[in-house]
């Protein structure tokens, strides 16, 4: 449990950090909260030659409202999001998902940006980012760009971030009135990771019918995904028990599920439909 030797630099500005990354290319690794990377290094599964610690950069940890969006700095910890009274009011899915991540220590140190950039196939944030239609801002020495959550997760631990880019901010459209949200997960009892996690954000019309729904599912496949068939079935539907169950049954349509010793692919698919039903029901209350 002792990592291999590595160099460590803690830049104080984002410019410095991206310059270091482009200079060291493949040898450098960004350190955020360190709750995925450091354990891997201790097991010597990861042996980066240089850690660029972005934890000393000021102004990467915040939650604010601007331009009709909620803007969250990449270094904002899960706990900061979990405990935000304002988020609980305007976008309860965020604190709800944050509160279900790992344990207290992980939530105190782990960051939303680190988790998204890492793109663990069972992490909680990717499902929430998808259901909230988030835009992820990436900074490099060449400038800044926005990546839609739907385009961000490419494959197992693979994101649309390019070499030399750092995820700097998460932007989420402020949910409209009559929006209901929920995040429900079946946690692996040992690791706390989602065997299945379902994030739902739905808007109801004045009559109480579902106007539009967004459903993000994590844990099932090699990356989190939007359950398009569920969303389609919900659009315009009255949110009664029967309709919800029928829509939720499409949770893994067209999805290549993965299995492991704990949960087979078939079991995961079953769980996805069950948790989708429960999450939609919770969001529609």
């Amino acid at each position: 449990m002792i990592p291999a030797q590595f160099d460590y630099i803690a830049p104080t500005t984002l410019d410095e950090a991206v310059a270091l990354l482009s200079q060291h290319a493949d040898d450098a690794k960004v350190l955020a909260g360190g709750h995925s990377l450091i354990p891997a290094m201790k097991l010597r599964l990861a042996q980066p030659q240089l850690l660029v610690d972005i934890g000393r950069i000021k102004g990467l940890s915040y939650i604010r409202e601007e331009g009709g969006q909620i803007r969250i700095g990449a270094m904002t910890t899960h706990y900061q999001i979990e405990s935000s009274a304002r988020l609980r009011e305007i976008c309860p899915l965020l604190p709800e998902a944050a509160g279900q991540i790992g344990d207290v220590q992980v939530r105190n140190k782990g960051t939303i940006g680190g988790s998204l950039a890492h793109s663990d196939p069972a992490a909680d944030w990717p499902a929430a980012a998808l259901a909230l239609d988030a835009e992820l801002r990436a900074v490099s020495s060449k400038g800044e760009r926005g990546i839609k959550a739907a385009d961000f997760f490419v494959d197992l631990f693979t994101t649309a971030l390019e070499q030399g880019e750092i995820l700097s901010e998460i932007r989420i459209p402020i949910p409209k009135a009559r929006t209901g949200q929920a995040y429900l997960k079946a946690a692996q009892p040992a690791s706390g990771f989602a065997v299945v996690g379902v994030a739902v954000s739905l808007v109801r019309d004045a009559a109480g019918k579902c106007e539009a729904a967004a459903v993000g599912i994590t844990g099932v496949a090699s990356k989190a995904y939007r359950a398009a068939a569920v969303e389609k079935a919900l659009a315009g539907a009255s949110l009664d028990e029967k309709m919800i169950a029928a829509a939720a049954a499409h949770a893994t349509d067209g999805i290549d599920a993965n299995g492991d010793l704990y949960a087979s692919a078939q079991y995961r698919k079953h769980l996805a439909a069950v948790y989708a039903r429960r999450a939609i029901t919770a969001a529609s209350r």
Binding site: D26, L43, Q47, P48, L156, S222
Partner: protein, 174 residues
């Protein structure tokens, strides 16, 4: 762990078969393969470098091809180990003609052990699928290239390295 799948390649069966058993082609197509040398008839020693990013994991192993029935099927036996863990397995690869294209069906049983298996169990199947896809995409490019053309260069190499470093990194419980 069982690994099963099918992959359709739009190239003719003989070309695909010969690509699949050509060590030079395999070396170019296996994600991260640095070396693949014949050590006997249909036996090879291989060396995979698992990334230049956060990982410098190197796997050494032996590959053996058996029951070869060109151009329709063969059996592959793999045995490898490296610092992050070890891998042992065997599988059947069958090639069928399908509307001028080739349908590859592979099914095998793989045992993974060591640190990777201990802490990254939940990731192994996804990782295997991803590597298989990268491999067959590259094989398709090889089989489609004309014999007198230089071999295609694969952009997936970089992707493979990036992925693998990610895989290893995340192969631990939080």
């Amino acid at each position: 762990m069982k690994i099963e799948g099918t992959q359709e390649i739009s190239a003719d069966r003989e070309r695909v078969y010969s690509a699949l058993i050509d060590p030079a082609v395999l070396q170019r197509c296996i994600p991260g393969c640095e070396k693949l040398e014949a050590t006997g008839e249909n036996t090879y020693s291989a060396r995979l470098r698992a990334g230049v990013g956060s990982i410098k994991g190197i796997f050494n192993g032996a590959v053996k091809l058996e029951d070869m029935q060109p151009p329709s099927r063969y059996r592959m036996i793999v045995d490898g180990k490296g610092q992050p863990g070890f891998l042992k397995g065997s599988g059947e690869i069958a090639l069928d003609e399908k509307n001028g294209a080739t349908l590859i069906t592979f099914s095998g049983d793989v045992q993974v052990g060591g640190t990777i298996a201990g802490v990254g169990q939940r990731m192994i199947q996804g990782a295997a699928k991803m590597m298989a896809t990268q491999f067959f995409t590259a094989i398709e490019a090889e089989a489609k290239a004309r014999p007198d053309e230089p071999p295609p260069t694969h952009g997936f190499f970089r992707t493979a390295l990036r992925w693998f470093s990610g895989f290893i990194r995340r192969s631990v419980a939080r």
